[in-house]
């Protein structure tokens, strides 16, 4: 797919505002896993006071007790029970401070998750709820205000939950600041990658101009990973002033088009036209190859200039990472990306690395929101990297075994399934960080 970003070129004023926010919210927060009574994982985090009233359309639950939740060991105790198709709080009010929500799914086959929201932000949640699994709990330190317990699919999906008073000590947590830090860091990663790509494409052009096929092949393989790492961030770029529907101005097309999706109106140029010349048959550098390399250098330079104007929302990182994994599944696994050089696994590795970087920058904030999902995604990234390790081969261009038809026939399904196990949990990140 073409990843549709909410990213936009940053206006000067916006960038300045971001700096101020970061300066004001420089604290860190902690996530404290503790074990709950029934084997579930409990997490603790603090949220600042409510900044806006809750959804005015929510009616109070008829069955919940309006009295304040009892306090045990300094922590308010609230029970949430899923039964049939109902989602029932035993108390719908509590004193400000730490509050533990214990969730039990008695028989609600259609209810699998609950979230505690503050002005549409998730301040606590539990997933993988199913009848028979026992109780799980989470603890949040809440300041006074009105919150919403959200039970997707329940008869009453939204129920108000009121916290009275002020928390004795406000936690330093600010998930949004952590995520903003992450997007800033990711922007720097993209910047560095693009700068490196410029150098690598310069080197490729020099090698092509020299006429040395062997050297040009090596430089081609060295230049490819940079684009593959950040492809989902830059794939939508068109040259300023050009028609978005016309491939003449589509930079991704001009840089990365493959034989399988050529637009006859534009013809072939870019990386893969060079790849064909270098690998098809015994490989040959012609005047046309040199023209491709020069055009590539020009287009990459334009791309880098445009990319420098980007800033990122947290969900851009998540959607971009998902987009890179789609690239792996759609093109690299099938050996369609590098049809002549068969260096697909180097691209595969770069796509995964780019996705891993995006995830790593989201991780501090995401861990506050959903530590379980964070751990799962981290573990699945490790599994994908481990699955790629046996294919590392420093003697080949790009540093990986050539992804030949024979190797694909025997190994592609296993590698693809390892990526699938990462794709699904990763696809759940965007909504978490977008609503934080």
């Amino acid at each position: 797919m073409l990843v549709r970003h909410s990213r936009r070129p940053a206006a000067t004023g916006l960038a300045a505002a971001l700096t101020v926010i970061l300066a004001a919210c420089g604290g860190t927060s902690s996530t404290t896993p503790t074990s709950s009574e029934h084997g579930g994982t409990a997490t603790t985090r603090s949220v600042p006071s409510a900044s806006a009233p809750s959804n005015p359309g929510n009616s109070p639950s008829g069955s919940a007790d309006g009295s304040l939740a009892p306090i045990a060991g300094g922590v308010s105790q609230v029970k949430l029970t899923l039964d049939g198709n109902s989602c029932t709080l035993d108390h719908r009010a509590a004193t400000a401070g730490p509050i533990t929500f214990t969730v039990t799914n008695i028989s609600a086959a259609g209810l699998t998750e609950i979230e505690l929201l503050q002005d549409q932000r998730i301040v606590g949640e539990k997933e993988n709820l199913a009848p028979g699994l026992g109780s799980v709990s989470f603890t949040a330190t809440l300041d006074g205000g009105t919150y919403v317990m959200y039970c997707p699919g329940a008869d009453q999906e939204n129920q108000d939950f009121t916290v009275t008073g002020a928390a004795p000590t406000r936690g330093p947590s600010d998930v949004r600041a952590l995520l903003a830090d992450g997007t800033k860091g990711y922007g720097q990663f993209v910047e560095t990658t693009l700068t490196d790509m410029t150098v690598a494409v310069d080197n490729l052009k020099t090698a092509v101009d020299s006429g040395n096929v062997s050297d040009a092949r090596a430089k081609y393989a060295l230049a490819r990973p940079f684009y593959e790492k950040v492809e989902s961030d830059v794939a939508g770029f068109v040259l300023p002033g050009s028609d978005p529907s016309d491939n003449h101005g589509n930079l991704d097309y001009l840089i990365d088009m493959r034989a399988s999706n050529l637009d006859p109106a534009v013809g072939w140029t870019g990386f893969h036209a060079i790849e064909r010349d270098l690998w098809d048959g015994s490989g040959k550098i012609t005047a046309q190859t040199k023209k491709y390399a020069a055009d590539l250098q020009t287009n990459v330079t334009k791309l880098v200039q445009l990319a420098r104007t980007l800033d990122y929302q947290p969900e851009d990182l998540a959607n971009g990472a998902a987009g890179l994994l789609e690239e792996v599944q759609n093109n690299k696994i099938k050996g369609e990306e590098e049809a002549f050089s068969h260096t697909d696994l180097a691209d595969f590795n770069a796509n995964v690395e780019g996705a891993r970087q995006a995830f790593a920058f989201l991780k501090p904030g995401l861990a506050e929101i959903d530590p379980t999902l964070t751990a799962t995604v981290a573990e699945k990234f490790d599994a994908v990297r481990a699955a790629l390790n046996p294919y590392r081969d420093a003697t080949q261009p790009g540093g990986f075994t050539l992804w030949t038809a024979e190797l694909r026939a025997s190994d592609a399904a296993t590698l693809s399934k390892t990526v699938q196990a990462l794709q699904d949990p990763l696809s759940k990140i965007a909504e978490k960080v977008a609503t934080a």
Binding site: A108, G110, T112, N128, P131, N319, T376
Partner: protein, 452 residues
Amino acid sequence: MSQSPDAASSASDREAAGGAGHSVSRRRFLIGSAGAAAAGAVVGAGATRLADPGAPAESGTSSGASTPVGVSGGTGSSSPDLVDLATRVPFYDQPHPPGIITAPQRHAAYMSFDMLPGTTARDLQVLLARWTAAIAQLTAGKPIGQVQPTRADAVGLDTGEALGLEPASLTITVGLGPSLFDKRFGLAGKRPILLRPLPAMPSGGALQAAVSDGDLSIQACADDPQVTYHAVRNLARMVRDTAQTRWTVMGFGRASAGAGQQTPRNLLGFKDGTRNIVTDADRAKFVWIDDGSWMSGGSYQVVRKIEMHIEVWDADRVSDQENVFGRTKSEGAPLGGEKEFETPDFTRKTADGAPVIDPTAHIALAAHENNNGVKILRRSYNYTDGIGQYGQLDAGLLFIAYLNDPAHFVTLQSLLGARDLLNEYITHIGSGLFAVPPTPATGHYIGEALFS
């Protein structure tokens, strides 16, 4: 929210059972060949897919206000194959798992899974609990979660292609493979007593690992193929970080009869399952596990992917085909007899002294009379995988059998694999044995006893 599960399952139950006030216009019917002439003449609001009258699992949908198939006009009698896509098969609180003695639906999707490396017993527990909850939703004709997320940037919990479709008698039968009880999850002590990998048996060719075995399996059957595929797709998707798919087969036509159903035909054009198990007594004796263990009430499932040599078979004269099966082609009568349900006479000789039914004919070797009384419940489906690498139609039978002792299958297949005249035309290419745990009570999940 439009995609919320129905508020009251009890109301939905009544609805599916054709209760008063149910809108006729929502009903859709599928008519079998015998009833095709009457297809335009269906009347009445309560037509219900005929369920196996002997199957308790069906009682919830065949009771109440539901009425038998109604036809009018003089074009024919009611069809045993009339199905009502609104029919729901109850899931929780049943004496036995669904999809075993449930009258075979028209379509099946079978999929096997392997737990991912590094997963834990807790991961397996969560998988089984979430699958169970999702199965309860799916068999009730509901999505497993939001199709249209309320929140921006969210992926849907359900993929949506079954929205607007009826439950179509969907049943989902979960199997546990022998490999699940190895060292990985610490479950060796809970291994169903007779769950061991099937031994090597003569089968006409080498079984392929890529279409055999698995830690877990799902048999989804319904009268609408999109309903079956939606079910396995979503069950696979929801656990993708825990288990990976291993192999799958889409079955497009039932090839075994349940009680009260016409005997369907396999792709060799012969009736299959004429002598299938249909009585409660035989079910108790041959199908249900009753050993006092946590598996009591469940069963063992044998699955074999059997490739048919279609072109070779099609070029064989019908008289020889009949000799191979031991039955006539059109009627399905045992050779020497006239009607399908006559008991085969394996002792009968022709005038020149040769047996009328060849002793190595398929029905002779498979007959309980010739196997110490052993019977197995068959619940097979026809499948096709397109065109094979040698340019031949790639199709066959997804043989599925339920039995309380896998040795019964081993006995039969050892005999059939070595001597069956049919072996010239078939090759077993896939195989699996799974334990099907008893069905959970409301508030519980499949295989919960493994973790207690």
